[in-house]
Symmetry: C2
Subunit: 192 residues, 2 copies
DNA sequence: TACAATACGGAGGCACCCTCCGCTTTATCA
DNA sequence: TGATAAAGCGGAGGGTGCCTCCGTATTGTA
């Protein structure tokens, strides 16, 4: 999450930075709890901040959604680097992919509203994609290097597969995990 | 909790029936022009009807969307039977499938809002599906009987393929038609 | 400490969804 | 045909949501 990245003439005031974080946190929690259509008034209330403060920071609803989404993307990337450090190559990749499944609900509706507003190929999504790809590529390359994943596989194909799993409506986490297991098996080289 | 003892249900009044049609027509046009989020006030205005009249007929926004959607499904089915009468079997099937492509824009957002509200497997969608399947099956069976389509093909697979074409974002009609041509070729029996 | 830049907060404008209820139109029946 | 009840009509207004504006409070600097 982190403070506002604004290297401008004067340093950001302490209260402003604090409120920024409060708002993004409140928004993320509210979206997870009550869905993407939570009112901005409710979010400002949760953050203990006036509605005017919210709107100075985020000129409209979409801007707030963007901030929360970027926050989520960041944590997806962070998880990748965390797993890469602590787990064996294949397990790290598996854990990362598994962490996608089930967290889809609020993120899916977030992504849905954002694509509706910005377009799927907007610069915003492009840049999110780049970051996730970079993190995923690290995991995949390590797993290939250790011989646990077939070298000819492409990251984007794997992510599309896993993305397809999370997109299924009314998908039980258990069912999704079974599908994911199949995909994970499919990544391994043929036994000799 | 008796059924009404009076058998004399009065017929729908002429003005009521007229206004119903006016509203559905206005809604369909407005959705096609300005998207699914057109306000109900705007639709009532277009239909030349008070907002109260709209709400008596359609207790909420979803009900109106349903009516328009059913209307579209009906016309999809009608087209199928029309083509079946006027065209050769394969051409009829092809024309019907082609009529899907390009009309996806407003229908897609309609279906999107409806699934969000009702669920993909709601009775409403089930019944829509049944009707479309019945119409499509007629076309497919005729095309199979005339030897223009391989007998082992399933209607649902074909419809999923074509549905997939229309789902692509930013798909040019021209591009969609090319993809459809490939699918249509794929339906024909292997040449001897 | 004093002052200017910056931030805060909520009242209020506008649009939308939906309800309520007094007035109008229609179908029926003597 | 004309009277009458049932059915339908329409729009004011309540509730809520998004967003703007501006007077007041806070913060960093000299």
């Amino acid at each position: 999450m982190g403070s506002t990245p604004l290297p401008s003439t004067r340093p950001t005031r302490a209260d402003a930075a604090r409120n920024y974080d409060l708002l993004v946190t409140a928004a993320r929690e509210a979206f997870a709890e009550h869905g993407t259509d939570t009112s901005l008034e409710e979010i400002a209330r949760r953050a203990g901040v006036g509605i005017g403060t919210l709107y100075r920071r985020f000129p409209n609803r979409i801007a707030l959604l963007e901030a929360v989404y970027i926050d989520e993307i960041q944590s997806v990337c962070d998880r990748a680097y965390g797993f890469a450090e602590k787990l064996e190559p294949f397990d790290a990749l598996a854990a990362w992919l598994r962490s996608f499944v089930g967290y889809g609900v609020s993120k899916k509706s977030l992504a849905g509203e954002l694509t509706a507003a910005l377009g799927k190929d907007s610069p915003f999504f492009q840049s999110c994609k780049v970051n996730v790809q970079e993190a995923g590529q690290l995991l995949l390359d390590k797993a290939k290097a250790s011989g646990d994943v077939r070298p000819e596989l492409e990251l984007m194909d794997i992510m599309r597969l896993v993305g397809g799993i999370t997109m299924g409506r009314d998908m039980e986490p258990e069912e999704a995990n079974r599908l994911l297991d199949i995909v994970l098996c499919g990544l391994r080289p043929a036994r000799s």
